[in-house]
Symmetry: D2
Subunit: 296 residues, 4 copies
Amino acid sequence: MHIGFIGLGNMGAPMAHNLLKAGHQLSVFDLNAAAVEHLVGAGALPVDTPTAIAQGNAELIITMLPAAPHVKSVYLGESGLIVNSRPGVMLIDCSTIDPHSAREVAKAAAEHGNPMLDAPVSGGTGGAAAGTLTFMVGGSDADFERAQPILAAMGKNIVHCGAAGNGQVAKVANNMLLGISMIGVAEAMALGVALGMDAKTLAGVINTSSGRCWSSDTYNPFPGVLDNVPASRGYSGGFGSDLMLKDLGLATEAAKQVRQPVILGALAQQLYQSFSAQGHGGLDFSAIINQYRKDT
Amino acid sequence: MHIGFIGLGNMGAPMAHNLLKAGHQLSVFDLNAAAVEHLVGAGALPVDTPTAIAQGNAELIITMLPAAPHVKSVYLGESGLIVNSRPGVMLIDCSTIDPHSAREVAKAAAEHGNPMLDAPVSGGTGGAAAGTLTFMVGGSDADFERAQPILAAMGKNIVHCGAAGNGQVAKVANNMLLGISMIGVAEAMALGVALGMDAKTLAGVINTSSGRCWSSDTYNPFPGVLDNVPASRGYSGGFGSDLMLKDLGLATEAAKQVRQPVILGALAQQLYQSFSAQGHGGLDFSAIINQYRKDT
Amino acid sequence: MHIGFIGLGNMGAPMAHNLLKAGHQLSVFDLNAAAVEHLVGAGALPVDTPTAIAQGNAELIITMLPAAPHVKSVYLGESGLIVNSRPGVMLIDCSTIDPHSAREVAKAAAEHGNPMLDAPVSGGTGGAAAGTLTFMVGGSDADFERAQPILAAMGKNIVHCGAAGNGQVAKVANNMLLGISMIGVAEAMALGVALGMDAKTLAGVINTSSGRCWSSDTYNPFPGVLDNVPASRGYSGGFGSDLMLKDLGLATEAAKQVRQPVILGALAQQLYQSFSAQGHGGLDFSAIINQYRKDT
Amino acid sequence: MHIGFIGLGNMGAPMAHNLLKAGHQLSVFDLNAAAVEHLVGAGALPVDTPTAIAQGNAELIITMLPAAPHVKSVYLGESGLIVNSRPGVMLIDCSTIDPHSAREVAKAAAEHGNPMLDAPVSGGTGGAAAGTLTFMVGGSDADFERAQPILAAMGKNIVHCGAAGNGQVAKVANNMLLGISMIGVAEAMALGVALGMDAKTLAGVINTSSGRCWSSDTYNPFPGVLDNVPASRGYSGGFGSDLMLKDLGLATEAAKQVRQPVILGALAQQLYQSFSAQGHGGLDFSAIINQYRKDT
């Protein structure tokens, strides 16, 4: 299939590569010329503007952008993807943005006759390269069915979350819980160790008890408890604290719009904001445990 | 073996029954005469005071009491278990108390020549009846080895957590994380549903993503997501909110003694305190989600 | 002076009246025809659109609008106040919005040759009617001097807070502190009373000690401590909880933009969000104490 | 009058000096021999034990001790002040402890026929030296009347807070509010400055608006806003962060005993606990603003 792809950053570039590998024809755009060249070297066709991608022959257009303002700017307005696409061309936004904005764009697409899905991902740059991303997808049943084979070229777990915007809802809810859990594990591990317990032994108890969670059994923040996690390599790699901060900001913002209290979620946001303000935003988000350990 | 057992409440009574079933001889004490009679009906020997149990022939004494003041009062002082026991008699306290008090009592026992273990449990009254409790045990390797067969008559998972007091440390750290996780799941589920998502679908996403945790995949607080959990029967049964409040109080108190910050832990304590002050302390602790749902 | 006035709501209408009383000529606009008629009855000239006000003869235009999107929509774009005003006409926005938006609009005004001030108020509808508002003003020294006599017709305390946007900064910082203080007083009063102390006696101690603050000595949330405050008339009148919630939202949003942690501020926002979600958003913001009192 | 005085630390020593200056006869005890000598040099009589003070001729005994365990140990038990005092001798405890313990001791005193007051102070070592302390007094009207002239020799503001324990209630409630207010001011000042405002200008607005409070107008934590406060001399002197941490611990503990939620209070405690764990417990409590300022 001829696919347009806009946004060739750390996530978008490997996703586009996987589409090429799966045999699709790709027209690509990014503001960064080097990123475009890299994809062209792998067989993609460079296009000068998002508008030109919309005006071309692509049957489906995928976007992977940093935040809601970029998404609105690329999709909406006179030079936007929507008004410049042929009706029927499917639009898939893989950016992580707030559900409200996702629904606003999807509504504009529907009015122009373009099926649209919001399909934010989890799995990080590693998952993007390996083609093992999870896609959380919002949109109609029919559109989801149609898009699934395309998404399956880039990910392993393609989950239909309901109507437009619900992909973003699922991501924002899951990641808020993730931020809370990680800080919870950090506090529990730091407390146990401060009270004289061995970290591995404590993690062992937690992982077979009611405190069990992904942040403890798969991504433990205490150094040395697990191999091959950021905590055991100086908190490099992984999912950056500033990315967690962004997602917690989306969660509290979405909560504000529906007057839904998220008390621990808001506190988690502030704790990551404090961590970031201290200059640690580039460390993996499990490094938040350093705020709780006296010897660090 | 001849075992003394003190404290025949909701947890202690079924634990004592399981020891009888395993063929042990039991001398029992409780302030509640009916509780004693019930055990006597099953073959136990009634004893008038804890002191008399210590002065008897039991080779091992187990206590299951409500809080630290009861434990100190039963073990310490002139009529306490320690000074009235023969040196060598093993003492096992299964109460959930703060690590500091547990260590104070263990030290007094050691000085009198009595091996002692702190062995708080998890698994609730159901686990106590079925003999499937988890024991988190603090004490020496040798004492742990010696006690294991006895504990195995009452539980399934017997974990050695390190030196004296570490059983309490493990329990307090795990349960603090549990309280945080449960509120985190409550906030995430309530937020997702308020933003338009189906609760079961959202739980499905979380349970296969990085937000995965026991509070979501095994004990989900949203009604109808899981069968056979308190959320699906009006929050009856299970682990009461007031018990969670007690454990969070132990966690923040233990943290205070070592000047260890537990920010989400302290907030979780206050949220359960607020829930309890509203008169809901008897509901299962997953009912905290009602604080977040507009329609409840 | 001939003044244009846009936004004749609960605050704007009495402010406009005071300008008429001070002898100014007023051209007014509001979407609500009844609000316009009321001012016309007092001598104002009705104008059909904000654009027409800009294109008229007013030497100065004042706006009093609900939120940033309204402000941007009225000031910016092709039909906005800025491009349709003669250069030199002064623009004063009295709305409470985020500092970032205020600066964006002020910059556009400057580029078109229009001096602009952000001048949010405090003092409520009572202060607006009595002409005793406080104005927190951001803009140049010269512009502040020029605007002062006009603002003095509507308020008593006209404070220059520095360059453009700083009026909003001052308001957002003060009101975030106000929200925190009010909840702090609520917790302290409720705790003292729960521990057996008389509310008036406790307030007396606090008001002469280091806990002294406006929320205690001027606006105490405990019923019966002060006369003539919302707490002593069922929390009616005053400054609504939903307005406090809005201001706390502005504070955390502004903090997010500069990655500044506001931990108690964010928690205060969530506590008001919870209060509002329970249906109490219309009560005075001191009613938050009801969340802490068992007998209410 | 012949007065017994136990506890000659940073606060107790200058208080005892002021009693001597007022012409009273003093029998003193402290574990620290140098502290005793110092008072003896000023005319006091040294006594070997608290018990001996009780057994002497003092008509009134004052204690100023670090925490509840010291108070209980000095007052209760066989060698305690209560059983060893003649009935009718008045006992005044100026220590800051939890209301529950204060009431327990007062009850024991009453049973032995000794009138007792809890009379914690505020005003710091400066106020103790200058004789300008505030005393928050719990006890009967008659006992308060009788003690007032004695307390007036050490303080300026002697407030009757109600029955036994209420002096502690007032102190604990006021100081919890103080801790919350100080962090609130720190967040508001740091936020305003991060958004581009001058600190003195912002404090000026707050101090004449609804955010006005002692922590801002009398003890502002931002360096340079006020002269003669710890913030303007590197946070030395003043009221130490560890003392604030102790008082917040008393507040949350007292709240726990009556199941009273104190959400901001508990969070303030954790923030000071974190500050102390970082090694800053010796700095004045206004230094908490350093947790919020990027350049510090």
